[in-house]
């Protein structure tokens, strides 16, 4: 008799029936069958995750710093050219800087060019590095896992929130630059790098496309940071490692002697976003960049998954 009851399927089913009957009677607020998993309920974690990222002071400070960069650049250009002179004698400085005085829209391109090498990826590195390691450090990871968030689902939620942050950070720079540019400088038709002039409306669309290309450029470091985040129980260590990897990659990318490895470094094709400003759009470098970012996402995303789904959570 008890042998039959040992069969897990049957015991399980009976236990569940009993449980539902019991709670159904005792607690009217929870109707029978309310505990089913539905796609809608699965999404709660993603919304909660994104909300949590943007409610952290740290995130808001990072976005604030990013928003301040275009304002600083715009004010500096305005002050320097106030007496009718040109910026930096037409030479150095970030790309497009010399055109800013003629058209405020170029401040968007200048600001993205100025923040992409370091500010933007550093902010992404902080958020990605802290994503799982920070939860482990504060102990909340174990409560999310016993909730049960599910390790794969939690990892996907973390990846999603980091990618949303990449987009948000880029848009903050772009919008702050657009607002500053519109306030300080004239707006008008846009002369592209290829010499063609397009309307301001199309210039805005191109600016949006540039922001999109910049946001996609950050996917690689987001995946890398997420993987680093699965390796340690210290949020600070994961952030520092990710930002350290960024600096290393940027330095290695400067040495001509290391040309062999450079095409595989995630920042290598970053400045390709300028090719959006040609007529017709120059796709080669842009696609190289997107492919490289996708490769990083695939490799480090898989590594993060392999690590996180098998790791002992002792924190």
């Amino acid at each position: 008799m008890w042998r039959a009851e040992r069969s897990p399927g049957r015991t399980e089913r009976r236990a569940e029936e009993r449980a539902e009957g019991r709670y159904g009677r005792l607690d009217g607020a929870v109707p029978a069958g309310a505990r089913a998993v539905s796609p809608f309920r699965q999404l709660s974690l993603f919304r909660s995750e994104i909300g949590t990222v943007f409610r952290r002071w740290r995130t808001l400070v990072l976005l604030g710093v990013l928003a301040a960069v275009p304002v600083l650049v715009g004010v500096a250009v305005k002050v320097e050219t106030g007496d009718g002179g040109t910026v930096g004698g037409g030479g150095g400085g970030p790309a497009f800087l010399s055109q800013v005085t003629n058209n405020g829209l170029f401040l968007v391109f200048t600001s993205l060019a100025a923040t992409l090498p370091f500010f933007l990826p550093m902010a992404v590195g902080v958020v990605a590095g802290d994503s799982l390691a920070g939860e482990a450090a504060s102990g909340t990871l174990r409560y999310l896992l016993v909730a049960p968030a599910g390790r794969t689902r939690l990892l996907l939620a973390k990846l999603t929130s980091t990618l949303v942050f990449c987009l948000a950070a880029t848009m903050v720079v772009a919008l702050s630059a657009l607002a500053t540019g519109a306030l300080l400088f004239p707006l008008g038709d846009v002369t592209l790098l290829s010499g063609t002039t397009v309307s301001f409306g199309e210039g805005l669309l191109r600016a949006l496309a540039v922001a999109g290309a910049v946001a996609l450029s950050l996917v690689g470091i987001a995946a890398l940071g997420l993987f680093v985040s699965t390796l340690t129980n210290s949020g600070i260590a994961a952030m520092a490692t990710t930002v350290g990897l960024l600096i290393t990659a940027q330095i290695v990318d400067q040495f001509p002697q290391l040309a062999a490895v450079q095409p595989y470094l995630f920042p290598h094709h970053w400045l390709s976003f300028a090719d959006v400003l040609r007529q017709p759009v120059y796709w080669d470098q842009l696609l190289d960049n997107f492919r490289l970012q996708a490769l990083y996402a695939a490799v480090f995303g898989s590594a993060a998954w392999a690590r996180f789904t098998t790791k002992d959570v002792t924190a």
């Binding site: 008890w2 607020a29 102990g139 896992l145 049960p148 968030a149 959570v313």
Partner: protein
């Protein structure tokens, strides 16, 4: 499986068969080679309030983490509510509430938002009832007034309550509470005990790890004792207390006249007399033990003023010390 659960089941609808948590040969060796849990065979009957005892570092928390699917066992199996872990985690854990190694909260979120976040992580939780369930859980642990405060401003006791509230967001079949009264004031400890009794009366199995022996003795029906990764014993609390070296208990007399009391009791055949402050304890003889009433009469007759008189019940603490040794040292 065939043995009937010895739990004094609090309510009729509690299933008397099956285990809420069962381990077979459960072993965990950490990467450093340290053996944290060694071939553990633990069985928590459904409907019981199960006390899990052991000195610090004895492997209690590692066992709990393996049961909750946070740590992969090196060998052996662990089943929770009849399903193997960690494989069935997504199916089983929505029916389990857990407080593991103290509460962990998002300091920058309010108490209410913390609960909302943990509830959102449960894929079986209904978003439509979320606010109501969060409110009910806050109410149950007495945190409604502080629900809007940022969790970083909470005291340890309030954090502990919020952690408990997170475990009570849903009706649970099993509650795993690791040191639930840690950091609470005596009033809070009482409330927790009352809460555990209420939950048990509703049919929830409660698995309670603690080093507070009287706490276990007050609320638990069953208990297990671990030391150095091994299970020393498990059974009902009464059985365990019965294991104490002197199962019958010592005679204890509270009196201001200890010297006289010792003399009189010695004459009556009581051995191993110990006088401390205003208390005299002694071992009653195994054979021809005098009637306790006669002993008392003899004391009073000899002019000894007796404040209290009786036989001490063998406590869980006696059993615990008998099993783990006097030294309550942290295992290396």
């Amino acid at each position: 499986m065939e043995e009937p659960a010895a739990a004094p089941a609090p309510a009729a609808h509690v299933p008397r068969d099956g285990a809420a948590l069962e381990t077979r040969g459960l072993t965990k060796r950490y990467r450093g080679g340290q053996l944290a849990v060694d071939r553990l065979d633990l069985r928590v009957p459904r409907g019981s309030v199960f006390g899990f005892l052991g000195p610090n570092g004895s492997g209690k928390t590692t066992t709990i983490r393996m049961a909750m699917g946070l740590i992969e066992p090196t060998s052996g199996t662990v089943e929770v509510l009849g399903a193997p872990m960690p494989r069935s985690a997504r199916r089983v854990l929505p029916r389990v509430g857990a407080l593991i190694e103290g509460p962990a909260l998002y300091g920058f979120l309010s108490g209410r938002d913390n609960l909302t976040r943990f509830d959102a992580a449960d894929p079986t939780a209904d978003p439509r009832t979320r606010a109501a369930r969060v409110g009910a859980a806050l109410d149950r642990v007495g945190l409604v007034a502080a629900a809007g405060k940022k969790a970083r401003a909470y005291s340890l006791g309030m954090k502990q309550r919020l952690g408990l509230a997170a475990a009570l967001l849903q009706p649970r079949e099993l509650l795993v509470l690791d040191e639930p009264t840690n950091g609470l004031d005596p009033q809070g400890m009482r409330e927790i005990r009352t809460l555990v009794r209420e939950l048990a009366a509703d049919g929830t199995t409660v698995f309670l790890s603690s080093h507070l022996l009287d706490e276990i003795e007050q609320v638990c029906t069953h208990a297990a004792v671990m030391a150095q990764g091994r299970l020393l014993t498990q059974g009902t609390v009464a059985e365990l207390a019965g294991l104490a070296a002197s199962a019958r208990g010592r005679l204890a007399v509270t009196t201001p006249d200890t010297a006289d009391a010792v003399r009189v009791l010695k004459e009556q055949g009581v051995t191993d007399l110990v006088a401390a402050f205003d208390r005299v304890t002694g071992e009653l003889p195994d054979r021809d033990a005098p009637d306790l009433a006669d002993l008392n009469a003899a004391l009073v007759g000899a002019g000894v003023r007796v404040r209290a008189f009786g036989r001490e019940r063998a406590s869980l603490e006696d059993a615990f010390v008998a099993l783990t040794g006097e030294g309550f040292d942290v295992a290396g």
